[in-house]
């Protein structure tokens, strides 16, 4: 059995700075992170940071805003201007941040419960207004941080600590809600689809307006174990087996359950003026030269 190749070339006095490309984006003094073995959140971070490089995003002008939950911890690990805000309110914080300093690129990175239960109202209105935000939702079908409670995305029949006999509620289909609310870019991938996800992140960085990316990731400790679905790798294998790529699919038809297809791809890509563009354009007409845009 071979060993891994050593980092060193004995012929070179100074070694090349070979390090995991993700490391330069992380607050290394805070490693290791708190996520469980087999949790998919770290995988999404790899894809996100790879896309930052691929898209040439200026890191000094990038800000990450997250809410509360396991995915909410992403903000704390990224070496960017990062804001770990209150439960459900990352989007309005991000709205204020972006409107106060429009040259910022603002990304909201949070979980399904944070963004769609307590945060649902804010999601709807930011999408409606086409606030210029990229919203990344890691959907693990549960409230992981607090021990595995029912989430608005939990599939019917799944067991959770607050649905101890099985979930009898109907889950929310996130891309459907995002499209209905007005999002201009809507995509869904799983952590199996690392290359597609990276490319979608890059495409999202190249666009403006309210962009929504849902990423299915396993919560092995709580969702998978409680429902006897194995480890994280088993969860990702299931994504591989059940997913089918359908770009442009009708978001009304792509709900998720414990069985059945997992439809992934880019579903919506329809630019329209952002909130601030609309405001500037409108007030420009109303006031002409007297209008003072932000910073103007």
């Amino acid at each position: 059995m071979s060993q891994t190749t050593p980092l060193e070339d004995p012929n070179l006095p100074i070694q090349p700075p070979l390090d995991n490309p993700v490391m330069s984006f992380l607050r290394q003094e805070r490693m290791p992170h708190i996520w469980c073995p087999g949790c998919g959140i770290g995988t999404t971070v790899n894809c996100f940071t790879r896309a930052l490089t691929d898209a040439g995003v200026g890191l000094d002008r990038l800000a990450i805003v997250s809410g509360i939950g396991c995915t909410g911890r992403v903000a704390g690990y990224l070496n960017l201007d990062s804001f770990h805000t209150t439960h459900g309110r990352a989007i309005p914080f991000a709205t204020g941040l972006k409107l106060a300093r429009p040259e910022l690129q603002v990304v909201v990175y949070s979980g399904d419960g944070d963004l769609f239960a307590i945060g649902g109202n804010h999601f709807l209105h930011a999408a409606r207004r086409n606030q210029d935000l990229m919203v990344v939702c890691v959907n693990n079908f549960t409230y992981g941080m607090t021990g595995g409670q029912l989430a608005p995305t939990t599939p019917e029949g799944a067991s959770q600590t607050t649905a101890p006999f099985g979930n009898f509620e109907s889950p929310m289909s996130l891309p459907y809600v995002a499209e209905a609310a007005g999002a201009v870019f809507v995509a869904r991938w799983t952590v199996y689809h690392v290359r597609h996800l990276t490319r979608t992140f890059k495409e999202a960085f190249q666009r403006k307006g309210f962009r929504f990316i849902e990423i299915l990731a396993p919560c092995p400790t709580l969702f998978l174990r409680r429902n006897r679905l194995g480890d994280g790798v088993d969860g990702v294998r299931v994504y591989k087996e059940r997913s089918v790529i359908r770009d442009g699919a009708d978001t009304r038809t792509i709900g998720l359950g414990m069985d059945g297809e997992i439809v992934v791809g880019t579903f919506v890509d329809r630019p329209r003026p952002t909130w601030m563009e609309a405001m500037d354009s409108y007030y420009g007409k109303v006031f002409g030269d007297r209008y003072r845009p932000v910073g103007g």
Binding site: D81, S82, T86, R89, F93, T95, L104
Partner: protein, 385 residues
């Protein structure tokens, strides 16, 4: 430094308190307001929405007060002076973000135009029943600064002061108006911009490698930055260390929470503003704030006409409560009268402050209108006996 003239509507105006507060915010340099309609405060943001396109900035009506109260914090970290405006029910919704602003030390201003409560209560009628809530309403140990205007002119002046205090102390600051002060129309003089003192944000002079968002400077107050300048800050509502990183243990909790509280509690004279009238040698001390001060003035005049030596201590800064000052003023009086449009809130602070043995006589009121000066007069006479 002085105000940006673009936001200053210099002149002599006839404005109500809500409108005057909006002008105060603009004069102070506020260029981002996120609000939500709620009587009797809505006019503040309505005016801001109408004025801001020609001044330069953003007004956004958010989907609820939860959103409004955190959108302003995002805007503050984007570098703007920001404000939100509400009344009782909205303030209740904003409590979580008051705590978040306090622990993240985000400079911002909240205006509460108080109305009858609890719950939906009396939307169009006055009260002063949020005074304890503004101090204790969020969970955990934190301090606030709260100012109480008693006229539209003060709504203008004290809103500017609120922004200045927010920047100086890197903390949320409240302007506790009420429905009467907000809706009464009086002369408001807005001076030239060059005559308005404005405190700039305490921008750090340190570079990205050295700056720490929670490293205390003089007075325990850290310097500030904004997102987008390469500092790569991390800001969290979790208990944190000086780098801003979560540090969830008793040692850091003690260090952080004590500093946050001492920042304000130990500010001393810098955060005392009590307007005193004939308090020296008084037999009776009347302690008031906000609109009740105006009504109490009438009662005090009547009492003085009867020969009673009545001192009037009007709290302009109600929080932190000026315990030492009230204690000093109450020494040697026969009684302290505290009229408020509530069932006894700030009077509890007065009771804690006065020397033992000095009687404190509340003049409470469930809200809905201002006191009848006769009622206050009777209590003054009672105190004088």
């Amino acid at each position: 430094m002085t105000a940006d003239p673009r936001g200053v509507l210099t002149g002599v105006h006839f404005l109500d308190g809500d409108h005057a507060a909006c002008e105060g915010a603009l004069a102070a340099g506020c260029r981002f307001v996120a609000g939500y309609p709620i009587t009797p405060s809505t006019e503040v943001v309505e005016r801001f929405a109408a004025r801001i396109p020609l001044v330069g900035g953003v007004f956004i009506q958010m989907e609820d007060e939860l959103a409004a109260s955190i959108a302003i914090l995002g805007a503050a970290w984007g570098g703007q002076k920001t404000m939100t405006v509400t009344s009782g029910p909205g303030l209740s919704l904003m409590m979580e973000h008051l705590g978040f602003a306090a622990i993240t030390e985000t400079p911002c201003v909240f205006i509460d135009v108080q109305r009858g409560g609890p719950s939906t209560g009396l939307p169009t009628l006055p009260a002063q029943a949020d005074m304890m809530q503004v101090k204790w309403g969020s969970h955990g140990d934190y301090q606030v600064i709260a100012l109480c205007p008693s006229s539209p002119q003060e709504c203008f002046d004290l809103t500017i002061r609120a922004f200045n205090l927010a920047e100086t102390w890197r903390t949320p600051v409240f302007v506790m108006m009420d429905e009467v002060v907000g809706h009464m129309t009086e002369k408001v003089v807005i001076p030239e911009a060059s005559a308005i003192e404005v405190v700039e944000r305490r921008w750090t002079s340190k570079g990205p490698g050295e700056y720490r968002p929670y490293e205390p400077g003089p007075g325990g107050i850290p310097e500030m930055v904004r997102a987008g300048d390469g500092y790569r800050i991390h800001i969290t509502g979790l208990t944190h260390d000086e780098r801003g990183y979560p540090a969830m243990n008793p040692q850091h909790q003690d260090r952080l929470v004590r500093r946050l509280n001492d920042k304000i509690r130990k500010a001393g004279e810098a955060l005392v503003d009590v307007r005193e009238d004939q308090c020296e040698g008084a037999e009776v001390l009347v302690v008031t704030y906000g609109i009740t001060s105006r009504v109490a003035s009438a009662a005090i005049r009547m009492a003085r006409e009867k020969g009673i030596r009545v001192g009037h201590a009007r709290l302009v800064i109600a929080w932190p409560f000026p315990r030492d000052r009230i204690r000093a003023l109450a020494s040697g009086v026969r009684g302290v009268v505290v009229p408020e449009l509530n069932l006894g809130q700030m009077v509890q602070e007065v009771e804690r402050s006065v020397p033992s043995g000095v009687p404190v006589l509340p003049v409470d009121h469930a809200g809905g209108t201002v006191h009848d000066p006769e009622v206050i007069l009777q209590r003054i006479l009672e105190a004088a006996r």
